[in-house]
Amino acid sequence: MRGVTGAFHELDTTVAAIEDLKKKRLGDVTVYSPTIRHELDHAIDAPVSVVRRFTLVGGLLGVSFGYWIAIWSSNYWPLVVGGKAFASWIPYTIIGFEVMVLVGALSTVAGMFINSRIPRLTTTTGYDARFSGGYFGIFIACDAAKADQAEALLRQHGAAEVRREA
């Protein structure tokens, strides 16, 4: 993927560059950050993560399965105790709850992996090892025509280093 990468040492200059890049519409912007910063979230203004839907669906499937397996197996091979129902929902709530947590949590992780596009074993254009350390990074995916403008903008905002990605 072609584009321009800028490495910033300061948070405020990174935020300013992102806000300017969004106004200029030079291309898709990817921001790299050593940690979560709300300032970056607000500047990027990305939509809310869809991971929550995976959580909801997984949790509902889990609780349904937990109750179902306990009720079905009780009716399939009844343990007959005089005056008592084969299936009793109160103790089965424990099974339903535990399976809800198990499937719901694992679905959440699956949702995170799918939406974050991980595991990824290939290198990513625009990434730099410093972005997990003390630097913030901005990668703009753009063609050569807009690359000059993007490069100038990153330098204007105080990027410590700017490089073109072929």
Partner: protein, 475 residues
């Protein structure tokens, strides 16, 4: 610039009241966090010595297991009617220890308790290894460990399913879910930190292993956005899970018609005790760790003070539960219950009961003193006594109840055997072996979350120490 100087959410949520106590004034920037935490991964003589002691202790337990498999379960000191002894005691003890990790990483995260940030990784790892240790004991207890898969709920060859109304089946679901989710939580939190190690690594083989383990994490805004949401929901799931696990363990006792066990107070009593003992074990590992790894400016006295308040509170809850048990026995007018509780403190096992009352009720009262709450040496010593007291709490629940049931002709004895003690020693060896291996392979503190506390560099306006942080970690 306005979005930097005035984070949007600050105005909505108000100032973070927890943040004042958990700042890290001696940590200047992100690079220092990387340097300090990665420096803990270097091997030292003390570490090798510690690991050798742990492996030796584990081998003592392993040898006893072979001995017991050969000679049978009678070596475990079981004698009718006491057919549960050290193994269930130690099982409950380790499950309890495992509570603090997820409490710190999940519940305190949701409550935005800032002091969790420096200690939660070690506590999470402690949880996973404690539950792994606890999981050994049902397998040891069944006597024929190669049949352990009978514990897993699946139909046998006659298509007979386990009884889902049995507390022991609930236990299997609760513990296995807890282990899975705790391990997942630990690993998810580790991903960005493994990426830091990967990017700093120079050895090609190690770099490749870390690349695989980090799953190709790149710190992009997309990854952080989904990570934060997933972490929040994992915390939301883990919160009731923490409370449910020891409640379910308590049902193993409370569902049985045995004096001293059949009480509705057991679930909250067990959960409070688990948090109490778990925090004590966090001190047992975190206080030496902060000294040996020179992490005093990450785990500050403010952090220890905050954890001491949790221990003091849970001690009061546990102490109240002990007293309520005696009150209920008296108030119930059930003679068997009354005699049992009298026997608990003045009978054959009086020394065990008084040990637990001393360690769990009396000694933690020292934490009313701020001076002692901020004294790491005292907290470490106290943690050892609390660990001892909480093991004896489970001893007092299990042994006197089983040896002193309703009918006097049923009463019996239990003698702790050397095999029992070897397993106890072995369990500590097993636990500390895993923990010591962990601290030299992976960051013992959450690098990415520590960076959230440290003020980022700013070109204009404030930086390094200006309060831009929030307490709870990823939101």
């Amino acid at each position: 610039m306005a979005s930097v100087a005035h984070p949007v959410r600050e105005g909505i949520r108000g100032p973070n009241i927890a943040s004042a106590d958990v700042q890290l004034p001696a940590v200047r920037d992100y690079e220092q966090v990387d340097r300090d935490i990665i420096a803990t991964l270097g091997f030292t003589k003390k570490w090798f010595l510690g690991l050798s002691v742990a492996v030796l202790a584990m081998l003592i337990g392993a040898s006893s297991w072979i001995y017991q498999i050969y000679w049978g379960l009678g070596q475990a000191g079981y004698e009718p009617p006491v057919m549960w002894g050290n193994y269930i005691i130690t099982f409950v003890f380790w499950v309890g220890i495992g509570h603090a990790g997820t409490l710190i990483s999940a519940i305190l995260y949701l409550f935005r308790a800032g002091f969790r940030t420096s200690i939660y990784r070690a506590a999470e790892a402690m949880t996973v290894f404690a539950v792994m240790t606890a999981g050994l004991f049902p397998i040891i207890h069944i006597g024929r460990p190669w049949k352990f898969f009978w514990l897993i709920p699946y139909p046998n060859w006659r298509l007979l399913w386990p009884n889902f109304k049995s507390p022991l089946v609930w236990d299997v679901f609760a513990i296995s879910t807890y282990l899975t989710i705790s391990t997942t939580f630990l690993f998810i939190g580790l991903i960005p930190d493994i990426a830091v190690l990967r990017d700093k690594e120079t050895n090609p083989m190690r770099k490749r292993i870390l690349s695989i383990l980090s799953l190709g994490w790149r710190n992009s805004d997309r990854e952080w956005r989904h990570f934060a949401k997933a972490y929040l929901f994992l915390a939301a799931f883990s919160t009731p899970l923490v409370l449910s696990v020891h409640s379910v363990v308590s049902f193993d006792f409370a569902m049985a018609l045995t004096p001293g066990w059949h009480a509705s107070i057991f679930p909250p009593y067990f959960v409070a005790g688990a948090i109490f003992s778990g925090f004590a074990m966090v001190w047992t590992i975190a206080i030496p760790m902060r000294k040996w790894f020179k992490l005093e400016h990450y785990i500050t006295l403010n952090h220890l003070d905050a954890t001491a308040k949790v221990v003091l509170f849970t001690s009061l809850v546990v102490g109240s539960a002990y007293l309520i048990e005696f009150f209920i026995a008296w108030y119930s007018s059930v003679r068997a219950e009354q005699e049992f509780f009298w026997n608990r403190v003045f009978g054959q096992w009086w020394w065990a009961a008084w040990t637990l009352l001393l360690c769990n009720m009396a000694m933690p009262m020292s934490l009313w003193s701020q001076k002692l709450r901020r004294n790491p040496t005292w907290l470490f010593i106290l943690s050892l006594f609390i660990n001892l007291g909480m093991w004896f709490e489970r001893f007092v629940i299990v042994v006197p109840s089983l040896s002193h049931e309703f009918e006097p002709w049923q009463w019996g004895h239990y003698t702790v055997s050397w095999v029992d003690m070897s397993f106890l020693v072995g369990s500590f060896g097993w636990f500390f072996m895993w923990f010591l291996l962990f601290v030299k392979q992976l960051p013992v503190m959450a690098i990415a979350e520590l960076k959230e506390i440290v003020a980022p560099r700013m070109k204009h306006g404030h930086g390094h120490g200006h309060d831009h942080h929030h307490a709870g970690g990823h939101e």
